[in-house]
Assembly symmetry: C2
Homo-oligomer: 763 residues x 2
């Protein structure tokens, strides 16, 4: 039975989210709600300086403060590997000899209460010897720049592709190069060449829940309740650091209060485990919002684009040189430079392409995974430049894009998945929806943008589906619910496969001890790839049911179909409960289906993309020429989902992405001065509110069933925010003829750009 | 590869228990240690009368007491099925219209703290109309006895075999009949006929941890942290009562602080769920020791045995009529009458056998499952009578037993498993170890006893073994760790199968949401039957490893063997980590093995015994003829384990059983007067202490590899206590010529029996 050939019952409908009721009634359990018996608390002393040597730490007074159990520095934790990091193991759990950014944890106080820990932190005396710091790309890349990491850690600590390494004697954490064609020849053939530079600021994820972790260590095992999107990679890193078999490390993940990449891989977990191991009690660390700002951010970027085109708009050659300003430690910085860099040509046909991207260390807070994984920074550049080029060539930006957009089946890069979406069709839908080409009053303009992102590849997911004696099922999968609605969608996929109502399906909490392996809840992959693993597990179970039913009904299984919680054939109907009861001869027993997804390996980055995440948008703005204030009136986001398993969630996730994109487009920027982050909190760091949303905000679902996932689905979720900034900037440019190349598009910047443009015209 | 054919590495050794360190350091988590966010507490108002109508309950004052959230009676809980019970659904969660024993829960107060709940309980006013009560077997069986259950509940509420039903118009909860041969003919053929009556008192399990449960209800699901040996049957009962699919009910079981049957099936869980559902918060109920005494006990019994023998000691015929005095509600009472009754012939060849056992309701606390499941009561009778007969016939009790003991392969009952143990050999080992036949000083005597018990059958267990990327494994099985060491033994079985060190194996906590189905942690079944399920799962995994390795090493899998965490063959060696890494091409991924055990159905009780649990003992006592004080000097317990997976645990479990047997032999008895339990606590209810143990207490492991479990293992654990009382009584009889037929063998009883015997001699 090929379920997509029969009418769908659950898939494609929008039932109430499984976690809706408990979340709106405040009963859902987040880690912050957990209390582990005997649990104690830690607070951290963080470096006030961006770069310094640690001369001495006097813990005497703090250690004697009321309620204090232990005051620990890196020196006290030397009996484990104190370095961690997903790509390079270059980040110490507490500063060792040196601090590299203002906010870096140096000393941990463990006490019976958070208040006591905090009070004792104030009693610490830390003697620092300040070093020159680099807090901008220019400073970090200067020839004589102070270096953050003079000596490279041993080779074993670089865990990714063999060529992923810092460049010795520089602050370059990784240089990624990718090319095809012959770039010089390409520029020689081009009729017009454009060169532009765009910048994207540091921004913060601002998930509602800052990082929290509780660790319990003992009896040769570690248990961590972690706010992580990566329970299995966190398990692996902890097992390595603390020298235990993987089976001895449990990572349990209750609901996350948002993540957007900030809870990717290990963050505070290694420290909390090291402390719990030391004090012999469960230890809890819950960051404040300010501490969260000092823990994670998106890489800032400067992108230089040189693009050669013909006068008819055909792109011939592109050279992209992008610098991602990462923080003091690598985290996924090198991977972002690589993975995003790989798509710097955008979703376009470019015969000659030459890409160099760099991840550059600086004395600032670490940049980590963030929705879009480096692509929004590049898209901001290439989709702004697309309009610059169209305008200068006198072409319609829609037409120019359509001319260059990759068609379905065209190669993106040799050895990788051919294009699996109808990009021109998608773009036309965006244009149609915004009323492209229709007249607008003065001060208004419309803009378009198209983006492509390569997902994490290859990746692996396993899944189990357990059918209980009454026919209801429990799914075991490692996907983390972080607000995206994964639990509901994955349950729908299995309910569909097994012809069960959603109420009869339950998905268990991700826990490395009991959930089958899943590589990551990231990269818009869960519906598609964990969905495939679960679908395979459900089909394995289906097969078992059909075989048993065929025996029990004395027929061949090809005559049988699954319907309404039972198996039907010419000889009659058996409910699943009947089948199981007959098989076991008892009121109990269960059938277990297992399934997996394993990504294909391939060039050039190691894995073939399972699908391309495409992202298209159209915006309409109005600019107040007196103040520079931009009002976003309308915004159309195209969600090319292949098949919407839960349409309402697809739309909502896309809209959430757009809202986040509106944030970095208009408001958000982490401001550093003298190495100090000036706005680590919501008073000074402005995120969008509901009143910042356009009156007409729509996400249009494109369902061409062209994804590899269940029922033709493919991933969205990051898509919403990738084209937002250029679509809006392009709309502004078409409204008032002014081009901005730096985000955010504050009224001040817009006003100054208008003044500059007027001055140019006057001059 | 047949692992039992190769040298064993882990199985058969006695590594440190996996839970040893956390338990001795007090860090192990029991339910009592858990705090669920938002949790509130309940205390119960219990009936002071053994039998009464509920006239009125005034909750007004209690409801207004400080901290009180709700005061609930059965009437408030009428929106669910308020009756539960594993065999008959005859027990209300709170008394409905009527109370049937002193201590029965009537009203529940839910408050913010236990203290507040308790204070409010004292403010309840309950108007009871006393009814005549029956608190002994004679009262309950009297022709005009007041009935506990005048009307039978609907048929759907009797969940066991079709013939398991109360007898209308009586207090007989169930009558079990089993026979073979022709009993009258048998007695006619016999040369001598013996008739004796033996009694066994009510005793309490006294596990260190009384019953505790926490329930959380909401979002269409129930989560219960329960101190239960039966997570899956508890799930089933809750799903039925509260009308949810099984997948929506989670039963989580941390360590139990002892059980011995008292935590079989549902006890306080349905009430706690009903309360949590009502108040919309997690509710915790933790019984006190006194409340535990008013919740569970072992059935008292009166056993009438009529046995016909030849003068050479050959048993010809036996009629057994046993009455089990159960409490106010059935619980497993009917099953105990049936299952134990089935073995009332003992491990002997008896051509003509006629058994009637009765479970009889009375106005006392419920009798529930208790180590031995009704067999110790019968064994007390038939093994005492064996010595009575031997003595009167002038035969050696050892010889008489050997003459009648069933041989390996002999039929126990038609359609059931033939005898799978060397009973004569086992008995000889016991006799040899105690020095049977060697001279003894005056006042000393030796006694023997042999018992057989039928395990739960048929039963079902499923298991999963997950191998992680480094080759370490997590076992998922539903077995509850209640001190018996199951986690260690099951881990050893898998470690052996996969050639891994024990440290690389972890077993997860039983939780119905994530552990595969397991019918029960009871009936000495886990090592053998869950062991088989896990072994099958490990072999499934083995096969996957061998297939992958064969491909990777380019050889045929028959050339490969598993050794030291890897696969070796002529072409080289691959660690499991290598095999997995090569298969997935990534640092993560896992292989999942699945396996199951499914018991064979068959006559006469529905399932064929997977093995016979046999139990043999020899005791040596000294009786102080002045005081009647009996000193147990030596005790030999034969643990016929087939194969000891963990010899030290086998010995310890057997010794623990003996100690429990010493309790009911010498000290324990729940005393009722006017329907009131007089000794519900350790001041008045004496259990054995270390000083009551014999100086020479030995358990001898018999390892004939004749069990069906991994490596030939079979179940022990109940065995230790089944022959204790008759072995000791027989030793007393041989020491001082006095036969006791009622337990416990207090100095007073022994002294009075001696006086009576002297009076007889004098007369």
């Amino acid at each position: 039975m090929e379920p997509s050939a029969v009418p769908l019952h659950t898939v494609g409908t929008s039932p109430q989210r499984l976690d809706a009721r408990e979340k709106v009634t405040g009963r859902a359990t987040f880690i912050s709600d957990l209390r582990v018996p005997g649990m104690v608390y830690t607070k951290l002393w963080r470096s006030p300086l961006p770069h310094a040597r640690l001369r001495a730490i006097d813990t005497t007074t703090a250690a004697r403060a009321p309620g204090v159990l232990a005051v620990l520095t890196a020196a006290d934790l030397a009996d484990c590997d104190r370095y961690f990091g997903p790509a390079y193991k270059d980040q110490p759990i507490l500063a060792i000899d040196r601090v590299r950014y203002a906010g870096e944890p140096v000393v941990a106080v463990v006490a019976y209460s958070e208040r006591e820990a905090e009070a004792a932190v104030a009693l610490l005396e830390v003697d620092l010897d300040e070093l020159p710091a680099v807090t901008t790309l220019d400073e970090a890349l200067a020839p004589e720049a102070p270096l953050l990491h003079e000596t490279l850690r041993p080779a074993g600590h670089f865990r990714d592709l063999a060529n992923m390494r810092p460049i010795a004697g520089t602050n370059i954490c990784h240089h990624f190069h990718h090319a095809r064609g012959a770039i010089e020849q390409g520029f020689a053939e081009a009729e017009v060449i454009f060169e532009d530079v765009f910048t994207f600021p540091m921004v913060h994820h601002y998930s509602m829940e800052p990082h929290v972790a509780i660790a319990q260590v003992g009896n040769d095992q570690i248990t961590v309740w972690a706010s992580t999107q990566h329970p299995f990679p966190v398990r692996k890193e902890l097992a390595e650091m603390f020298d235990l078999p993987l089976a001895r490390v449990q990572v349990i993940v209750p609901y996350l209060g948002g993540a957007y990449g900030n809870k990717s891989y290990t963050k505070i977990e290694p420290l909390v485990v090291a402390l719990a191991r030391k004090v012999g009690r469960p230890v809890r660390l819950a960051l404040t919002v300010e501490e969260s700002f000092k823990t994670v951010r998106r890489a800032a970027a400067r992108v230089r684009l040189k693009t050669g085109v013909q006068r008819d708009g055909t792109i011939v050659a592109r050279q992209c040189t992008a610098h991602y300003q990462i923080g003091a430690y690598a985290d996924v910085g090198p991977r972002v430079a690589q993975k995003a860099g790989y798509t710097a040509g955008g979703p376009y046909r470019i015969p000659h392409l030459h890409i160099d991207t760099y991840a550059v260390y600086s004395n600032t807070v670490n940049s980590v995974a963030f929705r879009g994984y480096g692509v929004p920074q590049l898209a901001w550049a290439y989709e702004s430049q697309m309009d610059i080029m169209a305008e200068r060539l006198g072409l319609d930006p829609l037409d120019m894009r359509l001319k260059n957009l990759l068609r379905r089946g065209e190669m993106f890069a040799p050895g990788d998945l051919p294009i699996d979406a109808d990009l021109p069709g998608d773009l036309r839908r965006a244009a149609d929806a915004i009323g492209w080409g229709q007249p607008l009053p003065r001060g208004r303009g419309r803009g378009l943008a198209c983006v492509i992102k390569a997902p994490l590849a290859p990746s692996v997911s396993s899944a189990l589906v357990r059918m209980h004696a009454d026919g209801s099922v429990t799914l075991l999968a490692g996907t983390v619910e972080m607000g995206q609605g994964a639990r509901t969608v994955l349950s729908q996929i299995v309910a569909e496969e097994l012809a069960l109502p959603l109420m009869w399906v339950r998905i268990s909490q991700p826990e490395s001890g009991t959930s089958p392996y899943d590589q990551a809840t990231s990269s818009s992959r869960s519906t598609t790839l964990v969905g495939l693993a679960l679908q395979a597990a459900a089909r394995d179970l289906q097969q078992q049911l059909l075989e048993l039913a065929a025996e029990q009904l004395q027929t061949h299984l090809t005559h049988l179909t699954l319907r309404d919680g039972g198996v039907e054939g010419p000889g009659g109907r058996l409910s699943y409960a009947d089948i199981i009861a007959d098989h076991f001869g008892l009121p109990g027993g269960e059938l277990i289906g297992r399934g997996g997804y394993r990504g294909e390996r391939g060039a050039p980055l190691g894995g073939v993309a399972p699908f391309w995440e495409v992202s298209l948008a159209a915006a309409e703005v109005e600019v107040d020429e007196g103040t520079g204030q931009v009002q976003l009136h309308r915004y159309i986001s195209i969600a090319d989902v292949g098949k919407a398993i839960h349409p309402q969630q697809c739309e909502a996730q896309e809209e959430g992405g757009v809202m986040m994109g509106i944030g970095h487009t208009f408001f958000e920027e982490m401001i550093y001065q003298d190495g100090q982050l000036l706005n680590p909190g919501l008073f000074d760091y402005r995120i969008p509110t509901m009143t910042d949303l356009p009156g007409d905000l729509r996400s249009i679902l494109v369902e061409n069933a062209d994804g590899p996932g269940p029922h033709g689905s493919k991933g969205i979720g990051e898509s919403g925010l990738m084209p937002t900034a250029p679509a809006i900037a392009n709309a502004i440019a078409r409204a008032i003829g002014v081009r901005l190349t730096a985000l955010p598009l504050t009224p001040e910047r817009v006003w100054q750009a208008m003044r500059a443009a007027q001055a140019d015209q006057t001059a």
